[in-house]
Symmetry: C2
Amino acid sequence: MKPNEISKPVLKRLPSYLAYLKSLPEDGPANISATALAAALDMGEVQVRKDLALVSDGGRPKVGYLRESLIADLEQFLGYNNTTEAVLVGAGKLGRALLGYGGFAEYGLDIVAAFDADESLAGQDESGRPIYGMDKLPAFCQEKKVLMGIITVPATAAQGVCNLLIANGIKAVWNFAPIHLDVPPGILVQSENMATSLAVLSVHLSAQIRG
Amino acid sequence: MKPNEISKPVLKRLPSYLAYLKSLPEDGPANISATALAAALDMGEVQVRKDLALVSDGGRPKVGYLRESLIADLEQFLGYNNTTEAVLVGAGKLGRALLGYGGFAEYGLDIVAAFDADESLAGQDESGRPIYGMDKLPAFCQEKKVLMGIITVPATAAQGVCNLLIANGIKAVWNFAPIHLDVPPGILVQSENMATSLAVLSVHLSAQIRG
DNA sequence: TAGATTGTTAATCGATTAACAATC
DNA sequence: TAGATTGTTAATCGATTAACAATC
């Protein structure tokens, strides 16, 4: 089963399973059933069972899955074992917050360097990651064969940065700028969109108030 | 047309339209067609047309929509005009970053206060918002009739905070903790999940590498 | 009028759910 | 064996897309 045959809805649910499994006490029961997982996460049990069948064949009738194996299978499938190196562009507030966040290692992500148009930011950030001027970006990405770029620049600069990253070998872009990025086929853009979440919440509240 | 009749996929696309329309130059053409919007955002034009028809009746054959009216209709629909007051719980790195972000006003969101279990954080944050101890939360939420809560505490504390918020009148929760929150019917939880985005990117790269 | 664009009705597609058979 | 659980095949549901009619 090739991972790219998996549908996006399924793919987006997998991290929840993983997070829940990891939150279980180490000295608890060694097995867990899809039924139990579904109940804990408020999901349909058939859906959970089908999702798990895509990433693991360790499910046994009557006992369910071995928790540790299932965790391993999910991590394997999600590629959290082999580290992905990423560069970050835009060392403003958000950019530095992401640089400083230590939790990405758990997902196999390593932000190896940051770049910013403002040369005065160059140096090391508090977490010890280097910050360079934009002129250093092309050589760095090409030499290190970096595949992921994280964009935390203002919306007006985002498309240009995106183009630059792609020109230097990046295949996946994590975009925090609130703007649609145009990319050639084969490049994946995943946009982190707070406006989207806010819209869902906001409309819910409007409906709530109006009755 | 009641807003809660709209489907979630549609709702999540609306902010993109709005952002794009706002990015257009003020002195540009006054009209824009669904066709042009679709092309700019890499979407199907039928889809865009159908989405817009749900929030506006200003579309005219041959000319499209009046840009300004469409912006107004979208903002109206998304409830960005009437301000929503929110409280934030957890004044750590992420919490203070959100407090300091000035952009929420554009979406009709006003974070009026923050709370943290660590009393030593009490006082004012740099942006002038007050930070209180957790004991002040119940009275504050009830008196101000706050409807939205933002959770930026560690995963282990999130469910407890969520319960507390709901007990004090909150109807919508914006959750940044990487954990599933259980809530009673009628309460909406929107989780901001970076692990989800990372999974999508990570699997794309794995597939890319393997060929 | 001709053509661009809108909005709607019907067809397709994909994801979820339900029903069932298999297994320990 | 009986019952819990798995995995699979079929049915349903909802969203997207295609085809078309309406309009300026």
